[in-house]
Symmetry: C2
């Protein structure tokens, strides 16, 4: 990555840097004021540009949003990667699940945008699930999938006829995503011991996959 940037001309380097500054500004606005306050003018203001200048770097507002979302998924994935991979498999799964939730809570508007955007390019018909962005290198889902696979190899999770590895990872994803979504929207003001409840939920689903 760094080596790759070194190969670029100073011009191309500055270009890439400004492009990144635009995305950073967009992210900051979303974080501080919510996604509906994100406008070309607001971004331009924040990096001391005129709105027209942004079109040197992105073709439209939509492109900027798409790029910000892609970066968000990468960031979410990285947050989950900070969990030590040598934890006992089930504990590992619990921890990356909690990391997913934590990311959503500290970046609610960003998270909401990431999973609310409907602009993903449609798959051509006949494409398998592997082509879906869910299986991208940037996505966090493969981490869940690997985690489940590891737990299965350790004999801590029993794949059944009714629950493949894929489906187990999907269940796990659903429960953490549901918790994340509910907590940043409908349950925002709910007085409740979520630390306890979330752990309980993750333990329950883990039990449900056990042999």
């Amino acid at each position: 990555m760094q080596a790759l940037e070194d190969d670029l001309s100073p011009r191309a380097r500055r270009y890439a840097r400004t492009q990144q500054a635009i995305l950073d500004a967009a992210r900051a606005i979303i974080h501080e004021q919510g996604a509906d306050k994100l406008s070309m003018r607001a971004i331009a203001d924040r990096i001391d540009y005129s709105p027209a200048g942004l079109y040197e770097y992105f073709g439209s507002k939509e492109e900027i949003i798409a790029a910000v979302c892609r970066q968000g998924h990468r960031l979410l994935r990285q947050t989950m990667l900070t969990v030590p991979p040598d934890l006992p498999p089930v504990e590992y799964l619990t921890e990356i699940g909690l990391a997913y939730i934590r990311f959503a809570l500290s970046n609610p508007d960003y998270f909401l945008l990431m999973f609310t955007q409907t602009s993903a390019p449609a798959l051509e018909p006949g494409a398998g699930f592997v082509e879906h962005e869910m299986m991208d290198a940037d996505s966090s889902f493969p981490l869940l999938l690997q985690g489940v696979q590891r737990a299965r190899e350790a004999g801590l999770i029993q794949p059944r006829a009714e629950l493949s590895v894929m489906e187990a990872a999907y269940s796990l994803w659903a429960i953490v995503h549901g918790i994340a979504m509910l907590r940043i929207t409908y349950l925002r003001e709910m007085p409740m011991d979520f630390a306890r409840a979330d752990r309980a939920a993750l333990e329950a689903i883990a039990r449900g996959m056990a042999p």
Copy 2:
């Protein structure tokens, strides 16, 4: 409800009817064109009014949205109520969970709006969870809670030190909500056997609560 309306003067009755027509129009627009196409002008057009006329019935666009959402929660609840309550408790829980998901899939934009709106009145500090709209008569959560309670009484769910009835219902809600959300947003184009996977997820969480 009907009797109550009969008591009203013809004037009040027409007023209530128009108010409902406005909400119906709003709902139809959300369903057909998405929540971002919902405007006072669009609503007015649809019921052959001028935009200004709407202010006879609602103080602002925000009020209309709030009312539409409240109605949405009522509708979701009613959908879940169509599940026969005399099913075996665990099967009952599975079925109302699937009904929740089905509602979201047939009204994606409506569902998204209902659970994305941030305009719920904040609880005054010190309020218990019972005061939260989650526990309203309109909310679907109490159905999950009762379902879990019933399963517990039948001995099919084992409340543990680590998983109270409340937490079990929360887990269940999280998983169906997560599925619903993922399927109407990020996984919209995902080619996958969801009928199977969703059932598997619900069975897994049920197993995790079993004695």
